[in-house]
Subunit: 380 residues, 4 copies
């Protein structure tokens, strides 16, 4: 294996959500090593968070400016920076990173307006640095599969693209209660001009374009704010006109009770249709004209090379498989740590022990005995 | 964070499946560090595999005996060993590890017979070492939730437990074609007396007991081998009698076409019933007597503390969310590595770039403009 | 039982679809008796169709004018007329019927423009006759349930209503091939100004209002015709603004491959959300704020009185249950008719015979014997 | 149309369930005419029930013996008799009917033991009369489709047949509360030796044989009674061995909370697998070996001739479509009856009126106007 890529992180300290996700994502394929961090806009929290993550104390920074200055001077300097702050800070941090010669991995949205976005793209080009934005849903195998199928013509000419992204976590005005995720997302100063449309509508839009290969030409939109006192839209109805005559709609809502994270894309051409639902991400429903719909699953023979390339585990093992396995490992770690001091782990630790293993061995034995006896009852 | 646990691995070299899963699982929560390995029964492949994983050359061993001897002598010796070999090797390796004072994380089944299992348990006890078996499905949040609900009486007295595990990858005699996974699993010398019942039936059995808290007392079984020339069962029909009068059935099959990895547990008591399906692992269907069935999802308010403890991401984000994110990171890594030499990454690299980010920023802008104009068409 | 209502039918002859549906619907509850008909605009076909249905020859009419005249003069005259012709004929026929003192049951749409509709309403009022339009989806038990739940406040204040109706039968230009259903539906002269929006969008609109109790105030629409040469829209994107501040969207399409008749309504208020899908009509998903979503099924204790009133069979027996039963009866009828002449029915007749019944009786016997023997194998 | 078949009914009076289902089934295709009845074992209830159904008073009988005697003497005598009594009465009634020269349509099970069944078969043969048993699930189009696919070899050689039928209506001892359906079904004197296995297990068994074309050779069964005081089994676990080496299991339960009427059959051969679920009866999942599973729907081009022959409505219109339509008709009938006396119908009558029709006409008009204006807001 080539050596790991050293990276730093801005944002993602205690209480944050997406920063931890970026770190796990970076570990899964063992391609990165987190070496530095300016993990919070609050300097004390930044340092405490870094300690918790086991960062070296001399690479735990109070703010991103310090990180850029200090890392630039190191021999083993980081190559890349993950930016996982509220939206309004993406621009200044990314700018400083690119100017300092660091690759940038920025959480979405890239910036809060188009001028900033254009400037960052120009900087990335000038400094020959990678500028990536984590529209993460484009990383799913069956999204890649869908894109490949459209590209190779399985759907014919695309006519209609319907996208939706329904959540319910903002049904009430929880931004008032100090819920950190809600408060910055509903604050125009931190989020930009779009609330729901910016936070989740953009995922839908990106995916619609990513899969269909189409370019949107114009929109007609009806944004609404239903929760009293909220400062940004929490429901977005949008009609779209794409190039090549295609049409579409996007619905995004943050109070659609019963929808946790219901992102869905449906695409129809003159030869067939495709449906992908994020809450059931391992399958893609393909309906070729005049034939029964098929369920194409991740890892199956029907999945294209583009999907296979980003598939880690076999078909039928939903991607949570890796997490379930990780939980067993985590609990074993707790037991090993306890054992270091001669203790037992907490009662909540439930990994299967040797005894569980022995019981299953015995189970196979009696099943085989029962069956060999022609199928009669055998005690365990 | 406490320091990582150093561990070694036996098996899991090139061409293996479950070894890579164990390594990813160990990385996800950043609790382990892979320091040593005897990764194949073929010494050359063992060394090549270790190099690919970036193991230090002096901790890359030709076989497990060497690993145990050498690691025992080191100051920074590994604490734990993951055993991911074919079944028949679990016993001698685990025995040697436990006798050497190492914790053991063994893939299932623990051993190929009950005598070996009993001996390993005794050794673990005598040496005060952890002996864990990776019945990984017990690590899923909603399995924990199910167990907690049974334990707190939500189902009342358990009457019936129905388990099934249907796969289709052995519908034909692929063990003859050199498919490595198939060939050892259908070889009694490597797998033990149970084929399908051992490979997947035991997962079902473990889960049935893990969730229900019941103990099986007797079985009546009908094992069959349908594929000509196969040496172990590929279909298992089993009826069970549990303690406290409960009854159950397990069906396991490896040629149930259309079933990739369809593990399912249903439990019914006198106050309600539960269904969990591994292919839709983020939900648990709970049907209380006389009321509409509810869909309890991972991460939702209805999920118990036992589920929350092993939940990493919010409701509605199926656990594949972390993998999708990891794919974006992997592709950015490829781009960064290419950039080191002034190159562009391969065309298959599809992570969202600054341009994608800019397009979405522009999208929000026009949507907001359209909506502010009362809902009229605005060009992009 | 009160005596049956005598009715006549205009349209619905050989080759038609919806007329047969109206006749079956009228028979299911045994409340009507078909006594007269002007079943086709082609007089010969009208008479042949009437003969096939077993109408008395003196009440089989060449056209609706004749039917109205002749029936008006009879003592046992029909009371009601079902109009199941192409859209453009609804108005003149309904007008004549109402003026003749007959109740009118008109397939949707009522007319092809608002002026005609207003005139018919006025006539119905003046003549004190029933004027009904078969927006049939409002007859489903779980649609009634949804309406009742909104009305009693289970969802709180309604914020968003999302409707869609996706079909795929017009993906190609089948109207050119002489397909009768397609040709009149895509002909402005017979259908009116709306194609897809009129044929299926109106069902969605009616249901959205029926369930939500809201009144639409304005629309912003984007109708498209994708199939070359088609004369009316085949895709409709519509944004709606309802009274009380609610918003909504309707998507209707006739080329959404893989969607046979996918009508779906989702309604969200500040206390909960509801989803009903016509292709799974026996269930309603209700998501109360902060609690797990529930599946309310037709006939279950959770279903309201409004649903129970229109429920014929128990929960879990999808409404096709009655049809399956009818098929058995139909095949037995074929056998009885054959037996009249001493013949056997056609080989396609598959109703369960005495022999099938005997086999099942024997099955129970051996199962009981096996179980009584403690669970051992018993031959059949 | 050929003339209708005149039939009589034994059982099915007030308070009964299946009798009404038989009558609706007989009406749907308009092939039968109910002319006589002995509708209850209680003579008064028999007469009251007949009156409610509108039977002629001279053909409303106190018991089946009277009906057979009187009808035999009539010129317009009935040809067939539907028997919808508790199980133990099937034999004497069917015997008398066959001996009297009437065709018999008997609800399942045919009889309570094999001797009776054999005798009825012999009588039917001797008298050349039809003896049918309403295993109604064999009348579903997609069950016919499944049978046709097995017969034409789409699945190859059948290896495994898994059947299940889970209900929850007998989770508690409701037979004690006077619930009529529960009390006779749990009474050995009325039901025979099998409780759950007889009531619902036999449906599963019939369907397993009907679809697979296999013959069961032996069973190994474990019947249980979980509800205290119940006199017959309420849970049945059965393993089966079929001819040609196939194996199978049947699980039937009447206390599987959350399962209303969950009958399911899965069949696997060496070339593919099929799944049919009664609660989603319009689809059949077909998984050919090595290809993505397909969803074959009733009425679609992929459905075989055997399914098409028993299909009444188009794909995507679940069979409840007919019932929804019937509800509209029923409510219109209520309105017409009320209008006869110059009254309005009850407030619960909700059929769409001319006003509803007019609103939808107006909706299409404004949608078209909005779209023609390029997509701008238009008021209703």
């Amino acid at each position: 294996m080539a050596s790991r890529i050293r990276y730093g992180m801005v944002g993602g300290g205690q209480g944050a959500f997406i920063g931890a996700v970026h770190r796990i994502a970076a570990r899964i394929d063992d391609e990165y090593e987190l070496c530095a961090g300016a993990l919070s806009s609050d300097p004390d929290r930044a340092l405490a968070s870094a300690q918790e993550l086991g960062l070296a104390s001399d690479r735990s920074y109070k703010n991103y400016q310090d990180m850029i200055t200090a890392e630039s001077a190191r021999r083993d300097r980081i190559e890349a920076v993950s930016i996982v702050t509220p939206n309004h800070m993406h621009y200044p941090i990314a700018k400083a990173c690119l100017e300092g010669g660091f690759h940038v991995i920025c959480d979405k949205p890239l910036t809060v307006n188009s001028e900033q976005a254009a400037e960052l793209m120009a900087l990335a080009k000038a400094h020959k640095r990678i500028l990536a934005v984590t529209y993460n849903y484009s990383g799913y195998p069956m999204v890649r599969q869908a894109r490949a199928m459209v590209a190779r013509g399985d759907l014919g000419n695309i006519r209609v693209v319907q996208g939706e992204y329904a959540q319910d976590w903002l049904t009430e005005r929880i931004e008032e209660s100090g819920q950190k995720q809600a408060s910055w997302r509903t604050d125009p100063a931190q989020s930009g001009a779009g609330g729901c449309i910016g936070d989740i509508g953009t995922h839908t839009y990106h995916l619609a374009c990513f899969i269909s290969g189409l370019k949107a030409e114009s929109v007609c939109a009806d944004l609404s704010t239903f929760v009293d006192g909220r400062r940004l839209d929490d429901n977005a109805n949008v009609m779209l006109r794409f190039d090549k005559g295609a049409r579409g709609m996007i619905w995004a809502s943050q109070f659609a009770t019963g929808n946790e994270n219901n992102l869905q894309i449906r695409i129809f051409g003159d030869k067939g249709g495709l449906t992908w639902r994020q809450e059931d991400p391992n399958e893609l429903i393909f309906a070729p004209l005049g034939e029964p719909p098929r369920r194409i699953t991740r890892g199956s023979p029907a999945a294209a090379e583009d999907a296979a390339r980003v598939t880690r585990i076999p078909p039928g093992h939903p991607e949570g498989y890796l997490e379930g396995f990780a939980t067993i490992y985590r609990e074993i770690a707790a037991a090993i740590r306890a054992a270091r001091d001669g203790n037992s782990p907490d009662a909540s630790v439930l990994f299967p022990t040797g005894e569980d293993g022995a019981k299953s061995v015995a189970f196979v034995e009696v099943v085989v005995r029962s069956s060999e006896a022609g199928g009669s009852w055998v005690s365990l």
